[in-house]
């Protein structure tokens, strides 16, 4: 999850990376109490890129211009995102603009320092001239100097830029970040350096041990949040469930990302169109219990079958944590409840549920599920074929 520029700069300031005097603007009238001398730059605080080109960054010379520009920016969506706050910042006279970043290199399994002498908005040039240094062992400032030399820095600029890189690295490690980026790093005519724009991406898995970062994030993440139910009720989707809406008529429920992907591929290959899918999660979560897994099966079934165009739900669950019988009972419970609800409405809308199961308890499972009109199929390809044909031919 990306932080906003002003939040990233707050972290920079704490770390001793030079940033310009700035002020957070929650409302255009805040500009009347501006403590930074004009001219200032007003910047839309959104997570989307390309703010400058979209008109989200404006230079202003006095309060009247500033209020007008702020009203304008607050009402300007950037890639559909409206800013909640603006950043008013002092203007800086740059001679050159560099690019700097710290990321994780998955293949090397090490942090990677990136730097280019072509920063700013000339992103293609920046990439062409991008230099890399892998931080192979524990960090020492020479890694940063190695980067600045590769970038072609000479004289006092070597120490000035590598000092910034070192502080970026320390921030990266201290806060468990996925990315620390400064673009551009302004270089003044006298060789002073200044972080003019910054991006920080936090690591979702490490957030639990950084409450100060957690506070900075919006309460609901864009991909999750609330989902409208079939009626007027609203269903909350926990973040552990990977639920994705598509536009076909077959709902899929699987456990594990790989199995979900493979099942999705097979449905498409058989000529079917998934309406959505939910991955109720793999089995490696340390706090996963059979009861939790069964709850997720029920919630997952509710999620995938709620849309009107869903005709068939295919359940493909494999694993050792909860027994076949436990999983089957969860499915039967859900089915009984949904049959009761349908009985009061239109019975024609009942979604057909196909369960792909395999194991020693299959006969017992079949019996339990037959009673609630759920079909059990042992072979995966047969389960897919049956689901696709039921969805196509009714």
């Amino acid at each position: 999850m990306d932080l906003l520029e002003y939040q990233a700069k707050e972290l920079f300031r704490e770390m001793g990376i030079p940033v310009l005097p700035s002020q957070r603007i929650d409302h255009p009238k805040d500009l009347k109490g501006l403590k930074i001398p004009y001219p200032v730059v007003l910047k839309s605080q959104v997570r989307a890129g390309g703010r400058g080109r979209a008109g989200g960054i404006k230079f202003v010379a006095n309060t009247i211009d500033a209020v007008a520009a702020a009203q304008n920016i607050f009402h300007l969506p950037i890639n559909t995102e409206y800013p909640e706050v603006l950043l008013a910042e002092a203007k800086y006279d740059t001679d050159r603009e560099f690019y700097l970043a710290v990321v994780l290199d998955r293949a090397a399994r090490r942090p990677l320092l990136l730097g280019s002498r072509q920063g700013g908005t000339s992103t293609e040039l920046a990439m062409e001239q991008m230099q890399q240094v892998v931080v192979d062992e524990g960090f020492s400032p020479f890694y940063a100097r190695r980067l600045t030399l590769k970038m072609g820095c000479t004289g006092p600029l070597i120490e000035a830029v590598s000092d910034i890189v070192e502080k970026m690295y320390l921030l990266f490690v201290e806060k468990d970040l996925d990315l620390v980026e400064i673009n551009p790093l302004g270089i003044s005519p006298v060789g002073e350096v200044m972080a003019l724009d910054g991006k920080v991406t936090v690591n979702d898995e490490a957030l639990g041990r950084h409450p100060s970062l957690l506070q900075l994030l919006p309460k609901t993440q864009p991909d999750e949040g609330l989902l409208a139910g079939s009626g007027s009720e609203v269903m909350a989707v926990p973040s552990e469930l990977n639920f994705v809406e598509l536009d076909g008529n077959i709902g899929l429920l699987c456990n594990g990302a790989g199995l979900t992907m493979a099942t999705l591929d097979l449905v498409y290959a058989a000529g079917g169109k998934p309406a959505n899918f939910v991955n109720i999660g793999g089995e490696c979560r340390w706090d996963l219990t059979p009861e939790l897994l069964c709850d997720r099966i029920k919630l997952g079934l509710a999620l995938v079958s709620q849309k009107k165009n869903v005709k068939v739900v295919l359940v493909n669950l494999l694993g050792g944590l909860c027994s076949c019988t436990q999983a089957v009972k969860a499915i039967a419970d859900y089915q009984k409840q949904s049959q009761r609800e349908t009985a009061t409405g239109n019975p024609q809308t009942q979604v057909k549920v196909i369960v792909r199961l395999y194991g020693s308890e299959i006969d017992q499972a079949r019996e339990i599920l037959q009673a609630v009109e759920v079909t059990v199929v042992e072979n995966l390809d047969e389960a897919i074929a049956l689901s696709v044909s039921l969805a196509t031919n009714g």
């Binding site: 994780l104 992103t123 673009n183 790989g258 493979a262 591929d265 694993g319 050792g320 944590l321």
Partner: protein
């Protein structure tokens, strides 16, 4: 690497939720679990396995162990693994999902310096069918035989093991390398191990979208692996950019230049790139799990000629 019923196994996090469940399943499969670790629970037993507060205490009691299987909560994994290394254990399997990537970077550095083999995190572990279970594989889908299985997935691996078993193709070993973003060991390392394993005649490699480990594996197979390999890649129709559940299939840091550096998002196009890499290395690619057994039979027949 030679895992047998005699292999002495430690379980770290044996009183944690999935640790205790799977300790029982591992023991029932015949795995020689000699001790469990759970700070504060020393002196107890779980499934007749003695529990200790620290690894070094356990080893004083039961002697050196060959491998430790870690089930502790994500933020405690690095410490548990470092404790195992400090006690002299050189094979570590991390089942836990969601370990912070920078913790894994630290562990990888330590593992390289001490010549420790780390599997995972977020892995079902290893199963040598009929002999030993080191992790959480759904063991009744497996049967002893000569096909080595290496995968990035958990439950999808069980699916493929089942299809092999039903086609009368038993497995010599199955390894999940893990599904998190930063892994302790690569496809290449395990391909090398299986290439040297006397019980393995053919290898099935199960990949998925995201990252570039399949491409690296394809190059490595072409350069260094003598045994026949069959590949399968899941995720052709995964919706672009959506999180599917593996930290490895989606990552993460998008630079302001518009690039993701050495990091590919949940991008179905990567399935095609991976398949092309396998084809360029003359490795047959199955289009579905059901096709894998046929391709394995074919490569085994060619090998005998």
């Amino acid at each position: 690497m030679n895992f047998t019923p005699d292999t002495k196994v430690l379980i770290q996090g044996i009183t944690d939720v999935i640790g205790s469940t799977h300790a029982a399943l591992m023991k029932a499969y015949g795995t020689n679990v000699v001790a469990g670790i759970s700070p504060g629970c020393g002196g107890q037993t779980v499934q007749e396995i003695p529990v200790f507060d620290m690894v070094e205490q356990a080893l004083r009691q039961v002697g050196p162990v060959d491998v430790t299987v870690i089930f502790v909560k994500p933020y405690a994994v690095l410490d548990a693994a470092l404790e195992a290394i400090a006690a002299g254990i050189r094979q570590i399997i991390i089942i836990t999902e969601g370990m912070p990537p920078l913790d894994m970077v630290k562990l990888v550095r330590k593992a390289e310096a001490t010549d420790t083999l780390v599997l995972g995190p977020n892995t079902p572990g290893i199963i040598v069918p009929g002999k030993v279970l080191l992790g959480i594989h759904k063991s009744d889908f497996y049967t002893p035989g000569s096909v080595g299985l290496i995968s990035r997935s958990g439950t999808l691996t069980y699916e493929i093991a089942l299809q092999l078993t039903q086609a009368k193709l038993g497995q010599s070993i199955a390894i999940g390398i893990g599904s998190d973003a930063i892994l302790g060991s690569s496809f290449a390392q395990w391909l090398q191990i299986l290439d040297e394993d006397d019980h393995t005649e053919a290898i099935v490699l199960v990949g998925e979208i995201g990252g570039s480990s399949e491409e690296e594996a394809a190059h490595y197979i072409a350069a260094a692996i003598d045994k026949p390999v069959v590949a399968y890649v899941a995720g052709h129709h995964a919706p672009k950019g959506k999180r599917l559940g593996h930290a490895g299939d989606i990552m993460a840091a998008r630079l302001s230049t518009g690039k993701t550096f050495n990091i590919v998002g949940a991008d179905p196009d990567t399935a095609q790139s991976k398949i092309q890499a396998f084809k360029a290395a003359k490795i047959p690619v199955a289009s579905s799990p059901a096709e894998i057994p046929n391709l394995v039979k074919k490569v085994l027949k060619q090998k005998k000629k």
